[in-house]
Structures are given as structure tokens and as C-alpha cells.
């Protein structure tokens, strides 16, 4: 009885589609924790989400592999795909939409017309720019045209996956389609939230959506448009193999003794020291510890870092570029402060080590005086040598 009374005391309904109220609250609490908010924010998120008329989401796909959609479908606590389908009104998603062809395009147009300025635009996949963008077309329109039509009407633009953030896989050299990210394709006119990764962690994406819905504003973003709650720290800083790096124990090649013992993967090209993400903390696939690339013995390749993943060769060793002796990151201070850099050694020895206080004038004077005395005494002795002998000469003669 008591339990039921408590359940009815909140403003929340008892069920959200197929999700029980209990599961829903649990999920919201987890989401709050994921965003670095106090647990008490969990019910607030729940209320905000429940009170909303399901916000419409238009999901556009450029040159992509659907991995980002897949990662979202694989989130499991609780069945988040159910939740997100009930939380939001996913009005258009090329892979998940029930209708297809012209019907799907109709639905997109209708939703955009009905919800001008209210819908969230999610983009996965890069935008080809070369040759007028003909390399990716949907319903006879290039994805660039569709994006240019849709973006001005959206409440917020969220890029999921490195492709829509800054080009990702399709933009890898020699970039035959001229693939760029959403922000660049739109000429830098719109501020986008970037959730990079290949694929990104679904909870980073979900938490961002919930943050926007709850607080009606963008979460705190870093210089590359990534939410700080997820991309605050370097992978190297939270890595479970960090102790091996510090101790100098490295795997030198795949399958060698160090690799089998779980040593640091820096020498086989791990990009953890230059990649910001929460992989070591958040993990993937909800299957427990070590379920992330480095945990399985594969070096991080920097998928969530612009200019690292898909740009640098995988065996290349990472630059410790955020490590500068002044203690500040080279690319300016990231929001969140200087703790973002790699922890440097406490101090370095300067080129010229300070050597006491040098020689004091008094010491020089005393030493010079002593040296002078010694030299004088020696000279006097040498000169006296002959004299003393010749003085005593007559005496011996007398004897």
C-alpha cells in the first residue's frame, strides 16, 4: 500500500510506453550521473521529459555507415531504444522509419513544417561538397541541399559521430568526395553540438538530448563543440593501463608478452594521450569492465579527436600535445581549466642549475691574501737560502 501511495505522489505517469516508471526513473538518475549532475536531478529530468510533448527529432544521414544508429539501438539500461522512441518523436530516420521512399520524405516535410524552430536536428554522416555534393543524394536532392533547408528551422543541431562533426572516415585522405562536417558544410553559421566517436557512446548522445530538453539550453561545450561532461578528460588520464605507461611497461607488437599481459599500448600507436573522451569510464555495450578498445588490447585510434582519428596513421605514436611546461594547453585554455592537460612531472631541472651563491668578494680576498702570503714566504725563503749559508760561512771557517 505504502509503496503505491509513494508512486502516485509524483506527477509522473506510471508507464512510458513499454518502459515501467521505475525503469524510467532509474534511467534518468543514470543520465544525471553521466552528465555530472547531482542524483537529485534525476527526478527533475524525468519530470521535464514527461511534461514535454514528445519533441520531434529529424535524423538526417549523410555519408555514413549507420554505426551511430546501431550504437544507439544497442544501449540497454533500460531498453533505451524504446525509451528514446517514446521520449522523442523520431519523425524521420532513413533506417528506422516505417515508411519509405516518397512517404518518408513526405513525413519529413510535414514534421519540419509543423515544428519550425522546435525540432532537434540530428545528423550522422559527412556532407560531400565536391562536384556540387552529388555523391550523396536522397530523393533526388543532395544531402547538402537538404541540410541547408533544414538547419535554419531547427532548435538545435546535434552531430552524432565523427563524420558529421568533422568529416570522419569519408574525409580521410585523399577525400574523394570532399567530405566535411555539418558545421563546415553550413559555412560555420550554426553552432552545433558535436558528439564525435566512431561510433560515439550512446549515453553521451542521450545525456546531451536530455540536457537540452531539461534545461532548454546547450550543455557546456569545449572548443570543438563537444559536451564537457563527456569529453572533459583525456583517455590517457582515465585509462586502466596508465600505470603501465608510468612504469615503462609497453607492448611492442600485437601478441607479444607485454601485449598479453595487458601493458600500455602507447608504443603500438595508442592515441589516448591526445584524445578527449570518456571511454574508460563509460565503456561500451553494457557488458562490464574492459569493454572498450584499449581494454580489449586495441590501441585507441583517436576517433573522437579532430586531426587524429582517420588522419594519423594508426601505428604513429601520440603527441603529448596538451603537455606544455607552462602548464597550459597549447591550443588555449579549454573550458574547465588546466586540469585537462596531462599531469606533468612535478618539475624539470633548468638548463643551468643554480650553484650555491657563487664566490663572495670576501672569500676571493681571503684566498688571494693567503696565496700572496704563501708566494711571498716562498720567495723570501728562496732568497734567504743563500744568504743564511754565506752568513754562517765565516763561523765554520773559524772553527
Amino acid at each position: 500500500m505504502k509503496e503505491e501511495k509513494r508512486e502516485h505522489s509524483t506527477t509522473l505517469p506510471s508507464h512510458f510506453g513499454m518502459v515501467s516508471r521505475r525503469d524510467f526513473l532509474k534511467f534518468c538518475a543514470v543520465a544525471a550521473a553521466g552528465m555530472g549532475l547531482p542524483l537529485s536531478m534525476g527526478p527533475k529530468i524525468a519530470e521535464a521529459v514527461a511534461a514535454l510533448k514528445r519533441p520531434p527529432v529529424i535524423w538526417l544521414s549523410g555519408q555514413e555507415c549507420t554505426g551511430c544508429s546501431e550504437t544507439l539501438l544497442r544501449s540497454t539500461h533500460p531498453t533505451v531504444e524504446t525509451l528514446i522512441l517514446d521520449l522523442i518523436s523520431l519523425d524521420y530516420h532513413e533506417t528506422l522509419s516505417t515508411p519509405s521512399g516518397h512517404l518518408a520524405e513526405e513525413a519529413r516535410k510535414k514534421s519540419i513544417d509543423d515544428n519550425k524552430g522546435k525540432f532537434i536536428l540530428v545528423v550522422d554522416g559527412s556532407i560531400p561538397m565536391k562536384d556540387g555534393g552529388i555523391y550523396c543524394q536522397i530523393g533526388g536532392k543532395t544531402v547538402l541541399q537538404i541540410l541547408q533547408e533544414t538547419a535554419p528551422l531547427a532548435m538545435a543541431i546535434i552531430n552524432i559521430g565523427s563524420c558529421s562533426c568533422w568529416g570522419g572516415v569519408p574525409s580521410g585522405s585523399p577525400n574523394p568526395t570532399g567530405a566535411v562536417g555539418t558545421a563546415e558544410a553550413l559555412g560555420g553559421k550554426y553552432k552545433t553540438i558535436n558528439i564525435p566517436g566512431c561510433p560515439p557512446n550512446p549515453y553521451n548522445f542521450l545525456s546531451t538530448v536530455l540536457y537540452v530538453l531539461t534545461f532548454k539550453k546547450l550543455p557546456e561545450l569545449d572548443d570543438k563543440g563537444r559536451p564537457m561532461f563527456a569529453y572533459r578528460r583525456l583517455i590517457h588520464e582515465g585509462c586502466e593501463r596508465r600505470a603501465h605507461f608510468d612504469a615503462g611497461r609497453f607492448a611492442l607488437e600485437y601478441g607479444d608478452e607485454g601485449h598479453r599481459r595487458g601493458w600500455c599500448l602507447y608504443k603500438v600507436g595508442c592515441k589516448g594521450p591526445e584524445t578527449f573522451n570518456n571511454c574508460p569510464q563509460q565503456l561500451f555495450g553494457d557488458v562490464g569492465p574492459r569493454s572498450w578498445p584499449v581494454g580489449t588490447g586495441c590501441p585507441c585510434f583517436g576517433c573522437s579527436e579532430k586531426g587524429v582519428g582517420f588522419t594519423k596513421p594508426i601505428p604513429e605514436q601520440a603527441n603529448l600535445k596538451y603537455f606544455t611546461p607552462s602548464g597550459l594547453p597549447k591550443d588555449g585554455i579549454r573550458p574547465g581549466g588546466a586540469e585537462l592537460r596531462l599531469t606533468p612531472p612535478t618539475a624539470f631541472a633548468p638548463i643551468e642549475a643554480p650553484e650555491g651563491h657563487g664566490v663572495s668578494a670576501t672569500a676571493v680576498g681571503v684566498a688571494a691574501g693567503l696565496a700572496g702570503l704563501a708566494a711571498g714566504a716562498a720567495a723570501a725563503t728562496a732568497l734567504k737560502l743563500g744568504k743564511a749559508k754565506s752568513d754562517s760561512g765565516p763561523e765554520t771557517k773559524k772553527e
Binding site: L252, K267, G269, N319, F323
Partner: protein
């Protein structure tokens, strides 16, 4: 006074003449420069690859059983400020202005490792009066024998790199310096600093191979990717790396008659605390000078004869018969 102005001038002139006659052909009799040993081992340190992690310092202390060095009073960890009897290898930091750009002289920073350069013609070995310091004739490691050492510390003064350090805090002090981990070489290993360097900034190997590798790096096109060997110059493990600019200078190729340790950097080496040295070795120059002075014991006899003459004259009051 027994010594007249005339006598004094006579002796001085005679001595000066002999000195001059001995010194004049001195250059022709100069000691030939020491050649590089064919199987000499050494280290190539590339400052542009160094990330300043100090793994080499930790490994050095561990494998040479050196105690921690506390420069700042009250610190509980190893924090040497310079080479000392407890620290034979140190990573130093050059920093200028904002120190934001790695390997740049202005507003940049650079790391530099300092340890024994293992000169081809070591001044410390030349200066040592009791052959406590010797150059191993195969690997070229400059070794120290504590049983021969008399503690004169001439080696400290002779070394242009300020490497040999004296155990000032010991009752029976010794000279301490890097031996290139020759105890590990003897067991088929190599220097710990190179084995534990994560980036390949320090690599161990045959001096000729190291020189070849250093020349190869200087010739690499900046911005392109190139393979950099890890740990050893002949290592199968190579890491690709985007080439950053280098100063076109292999420090140690010619300095002071050459060394077995080479340094590459993009900041002038004088800024990194390495002295600018003439290509002739100081050991060769000073040995030439001294061997000339004592050649055939002529000059010492002349000086002794002069002194004898002076004393004889002063004590007897007579000219020599």
C-alpha cells in the same frame, strides 16, 4: 743579493731559447687524434622526439642502483636539479617566453638529456694521473676504477661537459658517472635509458649506425611521416612519426674530437647547455703540449740546471769553474 741582473737575464734567455726550440716543432709532433673505435657503442638522443616523461631517469636509477636525489628540502621523491653523484642521467628543460611550442627557440621549449658523452678522446681519461678512468677499447665506454682513484678530481675540471661527479657526502668518496650500463651490455643487454624510452627519443647502438641514423633524420622532409626505430638503432620495432624540423647539426659528431653520444635538436645546442667545442679534442691538445715540454726530459734538465747554478752561485759566491 747573489743574483745579478746580468745572471738572471742569462738564465732566462737560455731557458727561453730551449723552450722555444722545443715548442717550435711541437705542432709537427702533435699527438694524432684518437680514431673512432669500429665497435664503439653509443646513444642517439633526439630532442624533437623526447616528451619529457623522465622514464630514462627512473630506469637509470633503478638499474644502476642509485639513490634518490632530493634537491628541494623536504621532498620525498627524486628531484635532481643537475647531474650529481646520485644522478648520472637527467632530463633538462629549455623554456623561453610562453613556452607553447615544442622545439622552438622563441616562445618554445625543448627537452635535453644530459649524461656522459663517452668522448672518442676523453679529457677525463687524459687528465687522470692514476688511470682510474679508462676508455674500454671495444665498446669505447669510459670506465672508472675506484681502487686506482686518489680523489684528485682532475677529471671533473677536465671534462668539458661537466659530467664526472664526486661523492662529497661520503667518507670514502668515489667519482660517479654514466657507464652506458656496461654491466647490462656484458650480459647481452643495453643501456636502460634506451630500453625504457617510450618514444624512441634515445636509441642505443653502434656508433656508425647511430651516425647514419642521425644523418638520415636530418635529411627527412619535414611534415612527412617516417619510421623512427625504438630502443635500438637496429630494432625491428619502428614507430612512424611526422617529421619536425631539425637544426642541421649532429652534436657529438665533431665536438671535442667526437663523442659516442649524439644529440639532435631544433634549439641551438648552446641554449640547451651543451658547450661549443672545437673539433680538436682538448685531451689531444693538452697532451701534445705536455709531451712536448717533457720530451727527452730536456726542458726539465735545463730548468734544474739553471736552479742548480743559481743556488751554487748564491751559496758559494763564485761563478761556476
Amino acid at each position: 743579493m747573489g743574483l745579478s741582473r746580468r745572471d738572471f737575464l742569462k738564465v732566462s734567455a737560455g731557458g727561453g731559447l730551449l723552450l722555444a726550440s722545443n715548442l717550435a716543432p711541437g705542432t709537427a709532433l702533435a699527438r694524432p687524434p684518437a680514431p673512432r673505435l669500429p665497435e664503439a657503442q653509443g646513444i642517439l638522443f633526439d630532442a624533437t622526439v623526447c616528451i619529457g616523461c623522465k622514464a630514462c631517469m627512473t630506469a637509470c636509477k633503478e638499474y644502476n642502483k642509485l639513490p634518490p636525489d632530493h634537491y628541494h628540502p623536504g621532498e620525498i621523491w627524486d628531484d635532481p636539479i643537475d647531474l650529481s653523484a646520485k644522478t648520472v642521467n637527467i632530463v633538462k628543460l629549455y623554456s623561453n617566453g610562453t613556452a607553447h611550442n615544442k622545439d622552438q627557440e622563441i616562445n618554445g621549449y625543448s627537452f635535453i638529456r644530459r649524461f656522459c658523452m663517452h668522448c672518442v678522446d676523453p679529457a677525463c681519461v687524459s687528465a687522470c694521473p692514476v688511470t682510474a678512468l679508462t676508455k674500454e677499447m671495444k665498446t669505447g665506454v669510459v670506465r672508472y676504477n675506484k681502487d686506482n682513484c686518489i680523489g684528485c678530481r682532475y677529471c671533473q675540471i677536465a671534462c668539458p661537459y661537466n659530467i664526472p661527479k664526486f661523492q662529497w657526502d661520503q667518507a670514502f668518496p668515489q667519482i660517479v658517472k654514466c657507464y652506458l650500463c656496461d654491466h647490462r651490455i656484458a650480459q647481452g643487454g643495453y643501456s636502460a635509458c634506451c630500453e625504457f624510452c617510450p618514444t624512441g627519443a634515445s636509441i642505443f647502438g653502434n656508433v656508425q649506425d647511430l651516425l647514419k641514423e642521425a644523418r638520415r633524420r636530418l635529411a627527412l622532409p619535414v611534415g612527412r611521416f617516417a619510421d623512427y626505430p625504438l630502443q635500438r638503432v637496429d630494432s625491428a620495432h619502428k614507430a612512424p612519426r611526422q617529421v619536425t624540423p631539425y637544426l642541421n647539426h649532429i652534436y657529438g659528431e665533431k665536438e671535442g674530437g667526437g663523442t659516442q653520444v649524439f644529440m639532435l635538436a631544433n634549439v641551438p645546442f648552446t641554449k640547451l647547455g651543451l658547450p661549443q667545442l672545437a673539433p680538436e679534442s682538448q685531451a689531444g691538445t693538452s697532451e701534445t703540449l705536455y709531451h712536448t715540454l717533457y720530451k727527452g726530459m730536456i726542458l726539465p734538465y735545463v730548468v734544474l740546471g739553471g736552479l742548480f747554478y743559481l743556488i751554487y752561485k748564491n751559496t758559494t759566491g763564485h761563478e761556476l769553474p
